[in-house]
Subunit: 581 residues, 2 copies
């Protein structure tokens, strides 16, 4: 403004316009701010569960820093890859990336990986309030420790009130490296990575060091302060909003705060018609907010627990619970609760899990009505298969493989020869396939073909579970959709009946989510609008399952995608694209 | 030729020229052939010393396939990077890359790394006969198992004869991963990676499984056929040429074939005036050919051994010898020799090692005379330093760091801001620096500055050893020069005297090599011609030492370098270079 007064009057009209423009811009920035982060990513030795191993850290931490923003803010994250020989990509889980599909952070789908030494700048708008996540989306790097939370505060009042806002990220934890797990999964014969060694609550767990004695001398130290339990300190007589998120590599979890009920009020950024639970089932990629009243005896502490469900946590060597402390001030935060940790639900009580899935409805005042009909229905049969001797997961007998040129660039820039032009099928042999028999369908193939969706239509996806390659076994799979929220229209047991089950869809108050479980031997029905120009992954959020091919990719409105930033290019055929000589 | 007859006569003169051209070209190709290799690089579980760990393999093998070529051949290697998230670069050790400096395979110096999914084509001429190597030259990937041998057969008769030609690559072996070692080395306080767990002879060693009992159940298996000892079967009464090479991460070795003398005839591709040894000292990056007469009692087998020298192999837990079997046919190849493995030289007998270094002279009929004077002398003081709390190795108090944009591309394409334009010093404070005191020079810096050499001059390099940061300690360092062979003019104990020691240089029959040891508390003097346009690394071949900054880079004749292939670009500032929009 000082400069303005110094300028000649002749320039005034133009400058006046500029002046108001600047005011508007500044006002806009003041309202919708910019959150700028600088992250250095590298390997460090950490002992999150007392067992020392290499962990990928952000600014020295795993989980990484929480991104705190206001609805409408622009988040800028400068990621410096300081890994020695390894590339990187970071996905902003639950952020729809409207207008910025190139910053979804999915290697092979929306970008080339970030090379060692490079700094990549992610920039996107967090357009909705709620609880979201970020994590590596390249190879199996997520389980190496690169993950964290995004909290977006609302501009408008919320349909519930609380005194304090707290966060807890749940995880499971392996002592083997992502490299080692990938090598096992790609072995002939197939070698399963097994169950995790421990469960982490907000980055802290407790591995029983005596289970790996001699060689672990100096490697496992139960007194390492890095694995002292996570403590959530509370004061009595208040209401706490606790944002609970899971980024497990494998495990479905049951989360509980001993002696305290939890009222579920938010799921994946959407307000939930409140319901009360003793334990919260949570699947990898999901986030919830629960309200907890600190209305119990304040003279003691209580257990916070996570337990594996859906897989046999009791089979030797067993998966011990994740344990943290719900600390009533002024009790000492390390004071052990006088009771034993609460008994978790039976691992195989799938009815209880299905019931909780069904209980999650949109809040009555915040319901976004789904379209009543769909334009396209894709039924996705989930099976295990053997292809060329390798074990895979498949959708309609097609096991997904990532190309090394990102789809988004290939499609937008018309680069040919990048991926198979034959899309995967929209269904399977409904009439003849027996979902309760061991999968012996031998005609499965591996492909990087994708679903191309007409822009702005309504798409239904039915996730159909089935028996794996082991007798009487069907697993729980949390499916996550990039770039969208979907309506959860229904869940059911057994085989989905395309003629009858849609009649029972919840079209009244379905919750919108970005991640949803498909229960054992069951089905889950979703609906979304193909209204976000870009290329979007939809996949099982279990790290090893996506690695084994359990995913698909949707393209929609590629012609409406803006000019791609060159920062996402440089690999595969996009290396040649940049070369105009 | 059939086609030629079908053509009209009017075209004949031109075609006649073409005809002879084709004949010449074909003749040339017939004489200098093309050796075409396709390599798939990936991680696999292997048990080279009975302990199962992830190994980087080429076509399923570590060591990788031997490249066998004829002098003058063009070698083409298509490298497909099938690592999941990790890049790659392969150096052709000892190949001078005349005219192809961009295919030297040194990440950060001559090329960008090869991304996962990419296929990179190396193409170069093997212009001299002899024994060479290849190995990863990125991060610390070499010690993950990516290495092998290049054998180039001569067009002319050699100054020795033999009945059979055999190869043995020596290595040391760690059970921790390259990632883990790098993280240790970059810790504050510094954590040394320690001594190797075993020594490998041609990819096979024997770790004593009982040393890591419980957790190693299923991990260490002494009966795994992958770690059955390497067997060199021979027939009695013959002369064997054995090419012995070392690619250890750390260890200097003494190599011996029990009861058999060895006549050294080749070193790093140059014929040696033959001399006889009982044990061959060999440093990482060196190759030798020795002649062995099978003139011992043929009714039994003999030990082939490698032992660590220069470092205390007896300190607990100790480094057991590498053991293989020299199998006189028709004895069973697995039959143990009836004797104990021969006693190796004392690990600290440095006089014996210096004596052998001095014994290596050029063969009298194959001596390439060095220039009698030099145009530039660079004295390189090798010290340990602490910089910002991190432990480094330095040359003249400058610890080398690699840029993420290759020097070759930056210099040739005039990309600025890639590296520090201040070169490292040509010397140190000769008069005042005490090489036998603990290095406490606190003014060391880290830099990616390089030496820029006038083209086609004679350069002397004096490698000056000194005390480390531990009392009374000076280590052995094998220095390797890319793009050149150098004359080894002399070795000495103590501090190099620039006024007097050059008077004793061997200018009569110095051996030419590409790798040479610098002995503890001693110096080594080299001379080379800066006649190979390109950018060339010169560094300690110990994997962890180069990682810690023990290296320099020379540029010479950059203006004479031909058009760079775009395949070497795409990282750092060369990503922008390719973008012409």
């Amino acid at each position: 403004m000082v400069q303005f007064q110094l300028l000649s009057l002749r320039a005034a009209p133009k400058l006046l316009v500029l002046f108001f423009f600047f005011i508007l811009v500044n006002f806009h920035i003041a309202e919708a701010g910019v959150r700028h982060y600088k992250w250095e990513v590298k390997y460090e030795y950490k002992s999150p569960d007392c067992y020392k191993k290499l962990v990928i850290t952000i600014n020295g931490k795993s989980p990484g820093p929480t991104i705190q923003a206001q609805e409408g803010d622009t988040v800028i994250v400068e990621v410096n890859n300081n890994l020695l020989t390894e590339n990187l990509a970071i996905h902003w889980h639950g952020i729809r990336q409207i207008g910025t599909p190139w910053f979804d952070g999915t290697e092979g789908v929306t970008q080339c990986p970030i090379l060692p030494g490079d700094t990549f700048v992610y920039q996107f708008v967090v357009d909705r309030p709620g609880t979201y996540l970020y994590h590596a989306h390249y190879g199996m790097q997520r389980e190496a420790g690169l993950y964290g939370m995004i909290r977006v505060a609302p501009n408008d009042p919320e349909p519930f009130s609380y005194d304090f806002d707290r966060s807890i990220i749940l995880n499971d934890w392996y002592h083997s490296s992502a490299f080692e797990q990938a090598a096992l999964l790609s072995s002939i014969p197939f070698q399963w990575v097994g169950e995790p060694q421990s469960l982490l609550i907000h980055g802290k767990g407790k591995f029983e060091c005596s289970l790996s004695p001699s060689s672990a001398a100096g490697v496992c130290d139960k007194n390492n302060p890095e694995c002292s339990p996570f403590v959530q300190t509370v004061v009595s007589g208040k209401t706490y909003r606790i944002r609970v998120a899971s980024l497990t590599a494998l495990s479905a979890l049951s989360f509980e705060i001993e002696g305290h009920n939890m009222t579920v009020v938010e799921a994946d950024g959407h307000y939930v018609e409140p319901f009360v639970v003793k334990n919260l089932y949570i699947y990898s990629g999901e986030t919830y907010s629960v309200l907890v009243k600190t209305n119990q005896d304040p003279s003691r502490n209580y257990w916070i627990t996570s337990n594996v469900v859906g897989r046999n946590r009791t089979a030797p060597p067993g998966i011990p619970p994740g344990l943290a402390i719900f600390n009533y001030y002024p009790n000492h935060p390390k004071r052990q609760p006088p009771t034993s940790p609460p008994t978790p639900p039976a691992w195989d009580n799938k009815d209880s899990r299905l019931a909780q899935s069904l209980a999650i409805k949109a809040h009555q005042n915040y319901t976004v009505k789904p379209p009543t009909t769909s334009d396209r229905v894709i039924v996705m049969l989930n099976t295990q298969n053997t292809i060329d001797g390798f074990r895979h997961w498949s959708v309609n007998n097609v096991s997904f493989s990532l190309p090394h040129t990102p789809y988004l660039v290939a499609l937008k820039e018309n680069i040919t020869g990048v991926f198979n032009q034959t899309p995967p099928p929209d269904g399977y042999d409904f009439n003849n396939y027996d979902i309760s028999s061991v999968a012996n369908n031998s005609n499965a193939t591996s492909s990087n073909g994708i679903y191309r969706l007409q822009f702005n239509i309504t798409v239904d996806v039915i996730l159909q579970n089935a028996n794996t390659m082991s007798k009487n076994t069907s697993e729980t799979h949390p499916w996550h959709l990039h770039g969208h929220d979907f309506w959860v229209l229904g869940y059911g047991n057994g085989k989905f009946d395309v003629n009858n089950h849609p009649k029972n869809y919840n079209l009244v108050n379905p919750i919108m989510k970005n991640t949803v479980p498909m229960h054992p031997f069951g089905w889950t029905a979703l609906r979304f609008r193909s209204d976000n120009p870009g290329v979007w992954a939809f996949h099982c959020h279990i790290e090893s399952h996506f690695y084994m091919g359990m995913g698909v990719v949707f393209e929609e409105g590629i012609d409406r995608v803006g000019k791609l930033p060159s920062s996402i290019m440089g690999c595969g055929k996009t290396k040649g694209l940049l070369r105009h000589n």
